[in-house]
């Protein structure tokens, strides 16, 4: 009979090397666990050692088991076996950084109180030794009363010993020798526990007392109301009166116990040596040099995803165009061909074309996080970002969104605070992404170049980018004061020691990000592409019942102009075209006619299609030369009372609409994936559409008044 599966929970401080160890142990056998109500991703991995099957749960990095958010509460509940979807872990694997042993053991002493065997993995022992530290693992194990294994997770050193220890530890008793809080504290815990009639285990009764304003308090006081609140306050004042005030008493007790436990097991250098981190940090956080390096790094990232990704995106687009042409040749005309060529092939290409940007951005993020610079970048930018209620960690996601919001939203994973992360995700699509550029170029070229001063086109383009830079922080601030209001989050952030990034870790991050996007967002993007294709395809016969596809083929023999005219007629009478005409009163206050409105509607799944759509609507074909399309639009507008009188106001109104609107199914799909909720993409879509409409309306009305004044 095969041995039962052993469930291991992996817990550690941020920067302890937890992900590295998780990947080293479980290799490719891992997936994202499904924990309802958890906004952070928790991974699960599997591995087999000497015939025993292990399941490894990777809990989010934390400094302590004092839960301060619903997410942290889930992690504690999981460790206590209080989550319905998971067994109580058989063993807890506590990973600690050898160079910061005392501080990391703080969490370990809390883990030792959960009633489950604990194995301590002392990571990066090589770094600690290079700093003159000597750790006697056997002596440390005796002092702590748990198994201790020295490892180097990045090089795979000590992992077999660790696996052995995990296996044998299942037969161990739960540790008993940890730090003991003063009797006065334990007495109060006992009283509170009795008050709650054993509703919660002693561990949570202790958290209730020790964590002032913590999640345990919020939860239990919420359930039991004022009487518990009063008991709690009284208990805390009694403790303060006898010199055991919370939360100091816990930290003092644990750290003094740790100091005693490590005294003989760890040899430390008498003088702290100057490390590489000291030398590098002096430079990278320097007022002048630090800022310059920061700007250079950001420029490099931006340039790479903005320009470099093009080189990878073009072949993808080309390949899918070729595939579409081949399918067009092979299939008979009709709805099936349309669905496959314009719906599916175009849609899959539309998904994959994001991959270069996502992979390149995560290449940078992984390197920056792994080497320790990410925290410095957040340090340098924190002041600026704090003005809009965010922190320095929001900078890279927002900067990336200037190239494309899809990788930008995914980059917001580096933000631990839930509200900050949400605010960043929700405003990221406001940053002017590269897909808006063709719209700006077309309209500026058509209406704001000839007859204007030389600086007008550039200034207009700059103004469009400025809209994002100004509106996004304002919206973030409003969100942080309304929907995402809450106590000031802590910005205490560790600046980890610099280290060389590991190639394996970097590749892994990239692959995870790319795969997550394709698998979870890809289907949604594809579906929206197919819907819009159908709305533009049907009805596919003219009033006499002749299929348009045949009419186009027939017209092609009379030249491109005639064929483009038939194509335009087809799309203008499609369901989307009819919707545009029906909604003309809605577009009128923006200065638009139904043609512009229809193009805007068709662009909701992906704004980059707007130029092609305009090309079809204005009878220029979907691959129209920009010059001919400009001409066609100008010509059509010239024969129209509103647009001939206010062409600039209308052009600006369209641009402002595109600047503010979330016309990107990919962004919405990725927001849905990252927030694990439909509510946030729905909210993003609604607020941005409203903002775009109001912005375009104000632009046109103001432009109209100004035009009348000038003339």
């Amino acid at each position: 009979m095969p041995a039962a599966k052993i469930t291991v929970a992996l817990v550690g401080n941020p920067n302890a090397g937890k992900s590295t160890l998780f990947n080293a142990l479980s290799g490719l056998r891992q997936h994202v666990g499904n924990y309802p109500g958890v906004t952070v991703e928790m991974k699960k991995g599997r591995f087999t050692h000497l015939g025993t099957e292990f399941e490894l749960i990777d809990l989010p990095g934390t400094y302590s088991l004092a839960p301060r958010s619903p997410d942290e509460m889930v992690a504690v509940d999981l460790l206590l076996g209080r989550r319905p979807e998971e067994h109580r872990p058989d063993v807890i694997l506590s990973i600690v950084d050898a160079s910061n042993l005392d501080r990391h053991l703080y969490l370990t002493t809390q883990l030792m109180e959960l009633g489950v065997p604990v194995v301590v993995a002392v990571n990066m022992v090589d770094v600690a030794e290079s700093q003159g530290m000597r750790i006697d693992a056997a002596a440390l194990a005796r002092q702590l009363g748990v198994r201790v294994v020295p490892i180097q997770a990045n090089r795979g050193v000590g992992l077999d010993t660790l696996r052995d220890a995990l296996k044998t530890a299942t037969g161990d008793k739960a540790p008993v020798g940890g730090p003991k809080l003063p009797d006065a504290v334990e007495e109060e815990v006992g009283v509170l526990g009795a008050e709650l009639r054993g509703e919660v285990p002693p561990f949570l009764a202790r958290r209730l007392l020790l964590d002032v304003g913590g999640q345990t308090e919020e939860w239990l006081v919420g359930r039991h109301g004022t009487p518990l609140r009063r008991r709690l306050d009284e208990a805390r004042s009694r403790l303060a009166a006898v010199g055991s005030a919370v939360p100091a008493v816990e930290a003092r007790t644990r750290y003094s116990w740790i100091k005693a436990a490590t005294r003989d097991a760890v040899a430390r250098p008498s003088v702290r040596p100057v490390t590489w981190t000291d030398r590098i940090d002096r430079f990278l956080t320097h007022r002048v040099w630090g800022t310059l390096v920061f700007l250079a790094v950001m420029f490099l990232i931006f340039q790479t995803i903005f320009v470099g990704a093009e080189y990878l995106m073009e072949p993808i687009e080309g390949a899918f165009a070729a595939l579409g042409d081949a399918a067009k040749e092979a299939l008979p005309p009709g709805p099936v061909r349309g669905l496959i060529v314009d719906g599916v092939i175009n849609g899959v290409g539309g998904v994959l074309v994001f991959l270069p940007q996502i992979l390149l951005l995560f290449l940078f993020i992984a390197i920056l996080e792994d080497c320790g610079y990410m925290a410095r970048a957040a340090f340098v930018m924190d002041r600026l970002m704090s003005r809009c209620g965010l922190s320095g960690k929001s900078f890279i996601p927002l900067l990336s969104s200037v190239a494309c919001a899809v990788p930008g939203v995914m980059a917001a994973r580096v933000i631990e605070n839930r509200r900050d992360r949400l605010a960043t995700i929700l405003v990221a699509p406001l940053m002017s992404c590269s897909a808006r550029l063709p719209v700006y170029a077309l309209l500026i070229g058509a209406f704001l170049t000839e007859g204007f001063a030389w600086w007008v086109p550039g200034a207009t383009l700059f103004g469009m980018y400025l809209i994002g830079f100004v509106v996004a922080p304002v919206v973030a601030l409003v969100l942080k004061r309304t929907l995402l209001r809450g106590g000031t989050p802590l910005f205490v952030m560790e600046l980890p020691a610099y280290k060389r990034p590991s190639l394996r870790a970097v590749l892994r991050r990239m692959a995870d990000a790319g795969w997550a996007f394709v698998r979870r967002a890809g289907t949604l993007i594809l579906a929206s592409m197919v819907v819009v294709w159908a709305l533009l395809y049907f009805p596919h016969t003219d009033s006499q019942g002749r299929p348009y596809e045949e009419l186009v083929v027939a017209a092609e023999s009379q030249g491109d102009a005639e064929a483009n005219h038939v194509r335009g007629e087809w799309k203008r009478q499609s369901y989307l075209g009819r919707a545009g005409k029906a909604l003309e009163p809605v577009f009128e206050p923006l200065g638009w006619d139904w043609r512009v409105g229809m193009a805007a509607l068709a662009s909701f799944p992906a704004r980059e299609v707007v130029v092609g759509t305009l090309g079809i609507i204005y009878d220029q074909g979907d691959e129209a030369e920009e010059e001919s399309l400009r001409g066609a639009i100008r010509e059509q507008w010239a024969g129209d009372p509103v647009r001939s009188r206010y062409p600039v106001a209308v052009a600006l109104s369209i641009m402002v609409f595109f600047a503010l609107c979330c016309q990107c199914a990919s962004t919405l799909a990725v927001i849905r994936r990252e927030t694990r909720s439909w509510a946030w993409p729905a909210f993003t879509f609604t607020y941005m559409t409203a903002l775009a409409y109001v912005g375009a309306w104000a632009t046109f009305q103001l432009g109209r008044v100004l035009t009348d004044l000038v003339s």
Binding site: A251, Y255, V288, T291, G487, F491, E494
Partner: protein, 75 residues
Amino acid sequence: MPTLDQLLTGQRGEIETLAGDPALVQRLYEIGLLEGESVEVLGFAPLGDPVEIRVGNTRLSLRKQEAVAVSVRLL
């Protein structure tokens, strides 16, 4: 008694008391800013905030409004 945000780059102090928002104080304790520990101010971000400090072998970034919670005796 000065608070941590008032120290200059390179100055060191011994922590005397921690006071302020309970969640912040608890986090600072957890991370090892105990009474009696010595801290060094390593520098300030280019815009003057936050401050980078070292306690033991750990480097931390604290916003000035958080550093106010830590009162120190100059060493």
